[in-house]
Symmetry: C2
Subunit: 512 residues, 2 copies
């Protein structure tokens, strides 16, 4: 079958045979030897000759692979690629939906005159995401045509006819009463936040049916009960979706002491420019950073330098929106990440830490595309992808919900992400012979200790130390504090429970 | 939001304001006025100016629509487009997987030496589909990378980097025992048909997990029990998928008296060339043709002539693979279609009737893309799409499984179908004032009679005549015969049932 799959775009940076692929990004000038190799690969692949010769995908992939290896060899010796500015946002221009100062008074006066729709905390997180252009070129909650494209194609056709990636429906559910209250003649609607204040005006809106079963099935690949985002946000949401163009009245703030970490894509781009970044590699996470992560990030930078980039900058980008109850809360994660930088595990000079405001879907291969796409808009041209990204256990069966390899595969083949270089995550584990985290070597697997999240959590809860070198001491101390604060809460909870249970015991005494 | 949606590609042919859209097909020479209008629309849409001006999809769509209307007006007056041959197949070359005569003896000798995998009747239908290139550029059952692309993106990246549409996974399920029997070292596998004869060799194969839940959820948008294809073919199928390159030993034949209708895409293309077709419009169906269908097809041809085409040819293309039990069987449908042509309801000079060998998924918006894509490979550049194509009732809820408009919307936006012109189906009903089928006019809805499939079936079962002008008499007679043969079968069934029940009655007599 004559398809290239995504292999050409995967750049293995954690491997001695660094292989590279055909990027579509204009940042690679064809005057550099590396870029010349890319161009020659693309040329070979699109030529009639090769197409005639390769009667099978296998054959084509084999040829591409050997070209990639040649390129990898060339690139290690070559002068670095020449770049001209950061990667362009999807759709060409970074969307900014926050009302300009000059119009603000007018819009604030208009807002109370329009029909109101109360929105939830998670809706607010999406307003935040949309307002700053993370979902560029989307200009508001999806209308039906955008929703259908996201659901069926994980991509949306932009004005110039090209496809931009968009795998997660970004939609606003309303119920029958809300729909009724908007009425037939309204031309705009005011969205009102959980605190009762107007947040945004939605114009040129469209109301269409919210088929929850279909949305869930096509987004998660299952309709089993127990998917966190589904149960907390979709299952009981309204039967209609309200799409349209957003005008957001104020920049979204949380006043939780973390707003200074909430850099918009425009601010991140300015920061990368200020630092003269010639490559930006993003690391999405929703867990504490251990030294294995740090090793991977440091190693990625080393390899980008080897490829010829002069100043690759890491975007350490924890997700800050909705997460499920057993994930470590954002404030504790930020404290932990701070320590990682403070203690020099990651170099503050070449690392930008910021919060990604999106809520979490736990939708595996579908969601990882969103995570990657949003980072393009923030200026990242390299994206690190792990095993089973955005995955979780199946909610009703004893297995992973997704094949752990599918996230990486889907990401590398996704329409609209051709410009992004995918960096597969190499597994790190505790190397007992070195007393530190190291890339796992299957040839001496007995030397390695895997410390699962559960194991880490249990260590932290009991206040035990982890093996030296697993995590920086300050970072570990933060986790110990967090889990011990949970222990206290649980103790308090059990006391409350005992008090509540007491009357029952009294009513039903053990017979003497 | 700066997306064009699919509206630009939808050509409304059953409407007085014939509107046209930006085709990507090279068949439109820019020297014709119609084509010039297309080009100017595309130019306008891709220019920075328009993009800057259009801050919302609504606005952009409005502008595009008015351009379309201008084009519609122009095209009605203009000289026709100039074409150069039929539309190219997906991937550039029509795939043909049937072993060449020169190699046949060798392959027939090899087949018995390879590990064997027994395949089902529906697998055979897919072998048929693949062997003749309906799914070009696919060269066999999908490997994992192709499967994932179909499932997540409804499209697959072809060798030249462009996307071809591919919405339905075309996969071969095997069970643990079959997987075991293939072994680790095999380089090829022989597929054995239900009659015990070798059918094809599968090379460069790959075995990967068959996650049925995810496949069903992402293909159908539901996992509810009762989806016909799922229950009959997927639910009890094996836990593995076997993908690879097919070499099909013989052209697939059914020996059911209908093989002469089973024209391959190559044969259809030859037939269209022979007839000097300058436009081919495909009509997919799995039901009897009534005069409303005929009106639509005739009207489509008239409008294509008005647009300047000299010889538009209709491909009347009933689906011939698996259908659910209550659909009219293929042999009866073919008899009925024959009568429609015999009695001149459709013009045999400008109609090619043939069987589309694919099995039916009943997967609505996902499946309609497959139906359209396969017809590109057979040479069609216009595709008529109805209300709720490939739809059905929800298997467990009292509603349509799909929003009836979604099929058309999804089809018009689908990646890889940009070259195909989508012709929305205008509803026809029995116009009592005219005594014939006519396009429904909502202004005088009381004049129209809608004759549902169920109503038609009941009429036919009871042998009653339908209103004059609903269907040609010969065609109607075929349906009456079919449903009355069912009545007889049912009578026989009830007799058999009575006989079978008899002993039970004897064993458990009513007390006297």
């Amino acid at each position: 079958m004559a398809t290239v799959a995504g292999v050409l775009r995967v750049l293995s940076v954690s491997n001695n045979n660094a292989t590279a692929l055909a990027p579509c990004s204009p940042k690679f000038s064809s005057s550099s030897p590396t870029a010349a190799a890319f161009v020659s690969l693309r040329g070979a692949l699109t030529s009639g000759n090769l197409r005639e010769r390769s009667n099978s995908l296998q054959q084509a992939m084999g040829q591409a692979h050997s070209l990639q290896q040649q390129m990898g060899q060339q690139s290690r010796k070559s002068v670095g690629p020449i770049r001209a500015g950061l990667i362009t946002p999807d759709g060409g221009v970074l969307v900014d939906l926050i009302v300009a100062d000059a119009l603000k008074e007018k819009r604030l006066a208009e807002a109370p005159t329009l029909p109101h729709v109360n929105i939830t905390k998670i809706d607010m997180e999406w307003v935040h995401v949309l307002s700053e252009g993370w979902a560029s070129p989307l200009r508001g909650f999806m209308r039906e045509s955008e929703y259908l494209q996201a659901l069926h194609f994980n991509s949306i056709r932009s004005m110039d006819g090209t496809l931009v990636n968009m795998s997660i429906p970004i939609v606003l559910a309303i119920d029958d009463v809300q729909k009724e209250s908007i009425g037939k003649d309204a031309e705009a609607v005011t969205l009102v936040g959980p605190d009762g204040e107007p947040v945004a005006i939605l114009r040129n809106f469209e109301i269409y049916k919210h088929n929850k079963e279909e949305r869930i099935a096509r987004t998660w690949g299952t309709t089993a009960p127990g998917l966190p985002y589904v149960e907390e946000y979709i299952r009981n949401s309204g039967n209609w979706l309200l799409g349209g163009d957003l005008e957001v009245l104020e920049r979204v703030k949380y006043n939780d002491g973390l707003d200074h970490y909430r850099l918009s894509p425009a601010e991140l781009r300015a920061e990368f420019e200020r630092r003269n970044a010639d490559a930006v590699f993003a690391f999405q996470l929703r867990n504490p950073v251990h030294n294995g992560h740090a090793l991977l990030m440091t190693d990625t930078r080393r390899r980008l330098l080897e490829m010829g980039f002069k100043n690759p900058i890491l975007l350490l980008h924890p997700l800050g929106g909705y997460t499920k109850a057993d994930d470590v809360p954002l404030e504790w994660r930020m404290k932990q990440h701070d320590k990682v930088l403070e203690e020099g595990v990651l170099d503050p000079e070449t690392t930008v830490i910021a919060i990604f405001p999106s809520p979490m879907h736990y939708a595996g291969p579908t969601e990882v595309q969103w995570h990657a796409k949003a980072r393009i808009n923030a200026g990242a041209d390299f994206y690190i992808v792990g095993r089973d990204p955005a995955g979780m256990g199946h909610p009703t069966e004893n297995r992973d919900l997704y094949n752990p390899d599918h996230g990486k595969m889907v990401l590398s083949m996704a329409p609209g992400l051709e410009r992004l270089n995918i960096l597969p995550f190499k597994v790190a584990a505790y190397d007992k012979t070195k007393g530190q985290m190291a890339f796992f070597d299957p040839k001496r697997s007995e030397d390695f200790l895997f410390i699962s999240g559960t194991k880490m959590r249990n260590f932290a809860k009991s206040g035990e130390s982890l093996p030296d070198g697993f995590m920086c001491p300050g970072g570990w101390q933060v986790l110990v504090e967090y889990y011990q604060s949970l222990n206290k809460e649980q103790d308090n909870d059990s006391k409350v429970e005992q008090v509540q249970q007491a009357p029952k015991v009294l009513k039903d005494p053990v017979p003497v």
